[in-house]
């Protein structure tokens, strides 16, 4: 099933009313959408865990969506929140290879761009964005990231710490 805004919103409204069939279809579509959403922004070894954590968050917080509002910006806010939380808990990803999947909302590129993780990361100063991308997403060590960026090791650590803190305050920013 195609994960477009109108379909997802309709399924979610039915799910809030307790329709299990609609909910199964919704979660399946969200699972695929989330894989695209997180692709290249999390180590492949962590992708399954993060998608599942987000589905659980969607389940427990499903009352926080209002049928009068769009669905994908709500789901993306939850996904970003779980993503930042995941990065904060992650010490080091052990794989460097990245998935090449596409976003599940190709038919709505404007919305997809506004709610994407790239957009969120792009709000950070370049040095913080780079440190987080290299260490927390691509899984380089602090020393490797320092070498790659020309920053000192302690500066890489500071940039990661400050960047993650800033991200946590900007989850809902476009």
């Amino acid at each position: 099933m195609k994960a477009d805004e109108a379909t997802l919103a309709r399924l979610m409204a039915l799910s809030q009313a307790g329709d299990k069939l609609a909910y199964a279809a919704l979660l399946d579509a969200c699972q695929r959408w989330l894989r695209g959403y997180y692709s290249r922004r999390i180590a492949p070894s962590s992708l399954d865990d993060l998608v599942q954590e987000t589905l659980i968050a969607l389940h427990t917080k499903r009352a926080s969506w209002d049928a009068t509002r769009p669905f994908l910006p709500w789901l993306a806010a939850i996904a970003r929140y779980r993503w930042v939380d995941h990065l904060r808990r992650l010490y080091r990803a052990d794989e460097h290879e990245l998935h090449e999947e596409t976003m599940g909302t190709d038919d709505e590129p404007a919305i997809a761009a506004r709610i994407s993780i790239e957009r969120l990361l792009g709000l950070l100063p370049p040095a913080q964005e780079q440190a987080i991308a290299l260490v927390k997403i691509e899984g380089l060590s602090i020393a490797e990231a320092a070498q790659a960026t020309g920053q000192s090791e302690s500066l890489v650590k500071v940039n990661i710490h400050r960047g993650l803190k800033k991200l946590a305050h900007m989850i809902e920013k476009e």
Partner: protein, 216 residues
């Protein structure tokens, strides 16, 4: 959290446990907060009585302006908290800051007048009276504070630190609004220092305590 099951198994489990939910409505959140604030005001008036000038039908302008500013701040902060409980990329959570900047005139004016030597801010009588207002105003904040905590726990605030801070501001401002309906003191130093202290302390309490209660 480490997962070991497949996503399909997880989805089956979540679908199996699905119960109908009542979506969080903006109007309901705001209405509950206003009801809690109204109840707090009624309790304060019942226990301590309404200001004498209200009963006499001639209201002091300083009291009106200050109480109105606290009410405006409380309302703006409450709206922000309710908005924060329903995550949405593109939501703005900054509106309350303008109300806070306006209300900040009260402590600022109070400190300027107090420090410029108009009166003894630290006299035993002033401190005793101020501390009493602070204690009752703080206590009158607690119902709104609890209500907003419950609301945020039902919702999904993506910035728990800020949500805690703003909920504290809302509760403190409603608390001192309620007590202002009793407190007969129209002095800007008393209002600016002691009444504003309730908002500041509740904001600090919200920032310190709420994030761990509302994180998800």
């Amino acid at each position: 959290m480490t997962m070991h099951r497949s996503s399909d198994a997880l989805i089956a489990e979540l679908v199996g446990g699905l119960e109908p939910v009542r979506p969080l409505r903006f109007g309901e959140g705001l209405g509950l907060a206003l009801a809690a604030a109204g109840l707090s005001a009624v309790v304060v008036i019942t226990l301590f009585g309404l200001r004498p000038d209200w009963l006499a039908g001639s209201v002091n302008p300083m009291h009106l302006v200050a109480t109105g500013l606290y009410f405006g701040l409380a309302l703006a902060a409450t709206v922000t908290v309710v908005v924060m409980s329903r995550p949405q990329i593109g939501s703005d959570h900054t509106g309350w800051r303008w109300a806070a900047a306006m209300a900040a005139l009260l402590p600022l004016a109070g400190l300027i007048v107090g420090l410029s030597g108009g009166e003894d801010m630290l006299s035993a009588e002033n401190v005793r009276h101020g501390a009493a207002c602070f204690a009752v105003g703080g206590t009158a904040s607690l119902l709104v504070f609890a209500m907003l905590t419950v609301w945020l726990r039902r919702g999904a605030p993506t910035d728990p630190d800020r949500a805690g801070l703003v909920a504290g501001v809302a509760a403190g401002a409603f608390g001192i609004f309620a007590f202002s309906l009793h407190c007969p003191d129209n002095d800007i130093v008393h209002i600016g220092v002691w009444h504003s202290a309730v908002v500041l302390v509740m904001a600090g309490l919200g920032r310190a305590v709420l994030p761990r209660l509302i994180r998800w």
